[in-house]
């Protein structure tokens, strides 16, 4: 079907960190090209000011009122927006959620396998530290599904690899400064730490906290921020420091855009689409650093063809 007359909206709940900024920029870059090419008529981005469920629900309802054909959604809550999403579906609007996904069955979900983001970290450690060791876990924001999933993955991984032991857990609220402070507070009470498992983005803060406490730097799993990669590179050049980076790429928003376009095009798209995590190994570090803008985040943007590939893989 022809989608050149269709209008797609992005409903975003938060813009206050670099990941979201990169996500918005990727969206802008990819969709404005799509609009220029006449693939769709419009692809506008909307962000709430308060990062609040009710505000975003109101926004979804307003987008429905404005007659958008599809809403691409990064949701403030996995469940609490279900009411609004249901109403949108009932009004014939296609809803595709990503990153912050929703559980409402009528919506499509473009998700990362966050559980595997946890297990992958332990698998990496098991490979590089076969003798095992003591771990510090930095979690995200309590009461949020992503935090819960990653943490479960980590704990399942540890259960499968009993040579590892989690000796301390702090909540960094996915905020560099909070993570740094929490780690600095708990470090004095901890024995020597061999590795730090994270949820991405807290690695640099953790490294600084260790340095400030004059503790030897453990193996810290990194996220995808450029400053984390730079720090890793510096350490690597200095003493062959080895670690990995695992995270979600902000470009996933563009994938969700294409998914929405494909649905509007009448394609058969499965409701759940799993996207591979962005993982950077020791060898890929330099190449990623080259393509990442200073102060930004490592990213991948998706084309229609990439998306069709991902959809095909997801199809049963």
């Amino acid at each position: 079907a022809d989608t050149s007359g269709k209008r797609i909206a992005l409903s975003n709940n938060y813009a206050g960190n670099s990941w979201r900024q990169a996500m918005l920029r990727s969206w802008d870059k990819v969709t404005s090209q799509a609009v220029a090419d006449g693939v769709v008529a419009a692809a506008d981005a909307f962000t709430t000011a308060e990062n609040q469920v009710t505000e975003q629900a109101a926004m979804i309802q307003n987008l429905v009122l404005q007659g958008y054909d599809a809403i691409v959604l990064n949701a403030a809550s996995a469940d609490a927006l279900n009411g609004a999403v249901r109403e949108a579906c009932d009004a014939g609007v296609v809803v595709v959620s990503f990153d912050g996904t929703v559980t409402e069955p009528c919506a499509w979900r473009v998700t990362y396998d966050y559980h595997s983001m946890g297990t992958a970290q332990i698998d990496f450690l098991a490979e590089h530290m076969p003798q095992g060791g003591k771990l510090l876990e930095i979690r995200g924001l309590a009461g949020v599904i992503v935090d819960d999933d990653i943490s479960r993955g980590i704990h399942d991984g540890v259960a499968a690899n009993p040579q590892f032991e989690i000796v301390g857990t702090v909540h960094g609220d996915w905020d560099q400064a909070v993570a740094q402070r929490a780690v600095a507070g708990i470090l004095p009470s901890l024995p020597a730490i061999d590795a730090v498992v994270t949820q991405g983005g807290d690695g640099y803060g953790a490294a600084q906290a260790f340095a400030a406490a004059e503790r030897p730097t453990p193996l810290i799993i990194m996220g995808n921020r450029q400053d984390e990669l730079v720090w890793w590179k510096e350490q690597k050049d200095k003493n062959g420091y080895t670690t990995m980076s695992i995270s979600s790429a902000p470009g996933v928003g563009t994938l969700a855009f294409w998914v929405a376009q494909q649905i509007l095009d009448g394609q058969d798209v499965p409701k759940d689409i799993i996207v591979p995590l962005l993982s950077i190994s020791q060898d890929e570090l330099e190449s990623f650093l080259e393509t990442t803008e200073p102060g930004g985040v490592a990213n991948v943007e998706y084309t229609l063809e990439d998306t069709q590939g991902v959809i095909a893989k997801a199809a049963p």
Binding site: A15, G16, N17, S18, R20, Q21, A22, R25, A49, R139, A142, G143, G168, T169, V170, H171, D173, D175, Q176, A177, V178, Q180, R181, A182, A184, G185, I186, L187, P188, S189, P191, Y204, G205, Q208, A212, A213, R225, Q226, D227, E293, P294, G295, G296
Partner: protein, 319 residues
């Protein structure tokens, strides 16, 4: 009354005492779980991080002292804006440290004047005025910084993380700053004016106090301290981020009120800021150390705060 018990009674009346007592108790409860020189390390960390709370707390305290309804909700956004502007301008070069500082202070000045213009010229209640302006400031920071995280100049970063004898240099500076501001509060016309306005704005005007000038100065000062915090924090944590100020909304109010300053205005004290900031950091540290789950930790944090304030009790009105 004996000669000894009088100073003791005086001390017990100090409103800031309980924040320090709370901090000390929580610290003592943490020590058994920190082997070796851990106890000292915990304190070092506490001073390091409490410093930032105290910096914004000072500005917020002066604002809150202006009386009921006065509160600065634009502190988080100002921190972000000042941090982003400063790091972007300095671009990691030591030579530009001063320029970054001036730029951060310039942001603060602009924000403070803007806030007070809304409050005075448009007669918008301060809480909504600063909330509204915080959105605008946050947008400015986004448009300007685009969320890029630029490294601070190494010399500045070194300064913010330096220590002497285990004590963070920055913390020492801020202790001196707090002492200075305490003098400003109690011994200058400006400080007296703030306290008088907080008790009764109408009476203050009729007693010849320059009400508008004082309120303007206070909102500007709050924004300046927020900017200072943004400047130092971005140097300390390796760059500015768009959400670096977020947690300072509640924290700046919390350190002020737990520190014994009256929310009803007209009564303030600076030592309490330090007590409260240390207290808040140490509670989190203690509960992290105990390895409790998030739910239990939140509950205990709340109960400890309530317990301390209940033990301290309130001041009975005279008539």
């Amino acid at each position: 009354m004996s000669a000894l018990s009088r100073p003791l009674a005086r001390l017990l009346e100090k409103p800031w005492l309980w924040a320090f007592v709370g901090a000390a108790l929580v610290w003592l409860a943490t020590i058994p779980f920190t082997p070796g020189r851990g106890a000292g390390d915990v304190l070092t960390a506490a001073f390091t991080f409490a410093t930032f709370f105290v910096i914004v707390g000072i500005g917020q305290m002066f604002v809150i002292t202006l009386g009921p309804g006065n509160v600065d909700l634009s502190i988080p956004a100002t921190i972000t804006l000042a941090g982003s502007v400063a790091t972007k301008l300095m671009d990691g070069q030591d030579a530009l440290i001063a320029l970054g500082f001036v730029a951060a202070m310039g942001c603060g000045l602009a924000v403070g004047v803007f806030n007070y213009a809304l409050i005075r010229a448009l007669r918008i209640p301060p809480i909504i005025a600063t909330l509204s302006s915080s959105f605008i400031i946050q947008s400015t920071a986004i448009a300007y910084g685009r969320g890029l995280r630029i490294k601070p100049p190494p010399a500045l970063a070194e300064f913010t993380t330096a220590r002497v004898l285990g004590m963070p240099v920055l913390a020492i500076c801020v202790i001196v700053l707090a002492a200075l501001m305490s003098v400003v509060l109690h011994r200058t016309i400006y400080g007296r004016s703030v306290i008088a306005i907080g008790q009764n704005q109408r009476a203050a005007r009729l007693a010849g106090i320059a009400v508008d000038r004082t309120r303007l100065a206070t909102y500007v000062m709050s924004a300046l301290f927020a900017s200072l915090c943004g400047y130092l924090l971005s140097a300390f944590s390796g760059g500015a981020s768009l959400n670096m100020g977020e947690e300072y909304l509640l924290a700046s109010i919390a350190v002020v009120v737990i520190g014994g300053t009256s929310v009803a205005g007209g009564f303030a004290n600076l030592p309490g800021l330090w007590g409260a900031a240390l207290f808040l950091f140490l509670i989190v540290t203690m509960l992290n150390t105990y390895g409790l789950g998030a739910g239990i930790r939140y509950v205990l944090t709340g109960l400890i705060i309530i317990a301390v304030i209940t033990a301290a009790g309130g001041r009975k009105p005279l008539r």
